[in-house]
């Protein structure tokens, strides 16, 4: 029972962070499920994939008018992400894992720096949700979305930590729209893989439901909280997370 309660609380934290930062939560959940709760890796990944979909579903269900995903943008970028995932499957075999880790770390650090460069001067306000924007730099956006797909395929995560800064810092999408759009996208990415894990019996009902229930609650809390937070705080939260992931990738590379 303690295990199930612990999973619920971990799911709540992952869902809240995922909703706030536009992530699926897999980047937190897989290490927590394996290292803290001792779940087998395949069960942890299967559980995490279901929870990524739960985060995506929770954010979508609770978003209000004007705070939802930019669906046309999400679908266009998702094509690039899927192509990147296929390429990742090929490249992952040809290039040593250490080299890939270092390359991805460089991309993540670069994204973090670019996101920070979006910071405005004191006194300047930035809207979380605007609808009068036009996504820019599509070529670069597609290229980085493909890279996010490669990372997703190789690391077993949704890639939201690359997708959000891509849309926000590179393509000029407001941060609130970028996080909601990323949540939409990571749900699709996870759905592409989850049936494999279901078919193999790697999704264990009790642990998955306990974690997913926490994720739904966390996503609800995160969605409500986001409306009350300033863009600068979320931007810093995203940058800190990206730096932590980049350091972890570098560590794996060396």
């Amino acid at each position: 029972m303690t295990l199930l309660l612990g999973l619920f609380l971990s799911g709540t934290a992952a869902g809240a962070l995922g909703a706030l930062l536009g992530l699926g939560g897999g980047i937190f959940l897989v290490p927590v499920l394996t290292l803290l709760f001792g779940l087998p890796v395949r069960v942890a990944v299967g559980t995490s994939l279901v929870c990524v979909i739960a985060t995506s579903a929770g954010v979508a269900a609770l978003s209000t008018e004007g705070t939802g995903a930019d669906v046309p943008l999400a679908l266009r970028l998702e094509i690039a992400t899927a192509a990147g995932a296929v390429l990742g499957g090929v490249v992952g075999v040809l290039i040593p894992a250490r080299v890939l880790s270092v390359v991805f770390a460089a991309v993540v650090f670069g994204s973090a720096g670019y996101t920070l460069s979006k910071a405005r001067g004191p006194g300047e306000d930035e809207a979380m949700y605007r609808r009068d924007y036009r996504p820019q730099r599509w070529t670069l956006g597609y290229a980085v979305a493909s890279l996010a797909g490669m990372v997703s395929g190789l690391l077993g995560v949704g890639g939201g930590f690359i997708k959000v800064p891509t849309m926000y810092a590179i393509m000029g999408v407001p941060l609130g729209v970028a996080t909601a759009t990323s949540n939409f996208m990571v749900g699709i990415t996870a759905a592409a893989s989850v049936f494999v894990y279901l078919g193999r019996g790697d999704v264990r009902p009790l642990v998955t439901v306990a974690t997913a229930a926490g994720v739904f609650l966390g996503a609800a809390l995160g969605t409500l909280l986001q409306a009350r937070l300033r863009v600068a705080w979320l931007r810093w939260g995203l940058v800190v997370l990206m730096l932590a992931i980049g350091v972890q990738m570098l560590w794996k590379g060396f």
Binding site: L4, I53, A60, P72, A82, A191, P205, A213
Partner: protein, 94 residues
């Protein structure tokens, strides 16, 4: 699309919750990693998980039907490609 997300999420959650409560009532907490398709609680939970798993695809299908009805053909084509990619991934195993 928000209605679809809410409806299907609520349905999935209800199934998962019903299965979870039944499993706990039958002492399932002692074997949290168990997977037994012969028992109703596990079947209920897995059915709920399955309903949740199809939600992203359903959302894209809703987008596809909306764009088709609105004659936004470029966006409809993009949505169709994503649906096909998703189906291909599910069939070929990710």
């Amino acid at each position: 699309m928000r209605r679809v997300s809410r409806g299907l999420s609520a349905f999935a959650l209800a199934l998962m919750a019903a299965g979870f409560v039944l499993a706990l009532a039958r002492g399932g907490a002692a074997t949290p990693l168990a997977l037994d398709l012969k028992t109703r609680p596990h079947r209920l939970m897995l059915f709920g998980i399955g309903a949740l798993a199809v939600l992203p695809g359903v959302r894209v299908l809703v987008a596809l039907s909306y764009y088709t009805a609105a004659r936004r053909l470029a966006e409809a084509l993009v949505a169709l490609v994503v649906v096909l990619e998703l189906l291909a991934s599910m069939i070929t195993g990710g």
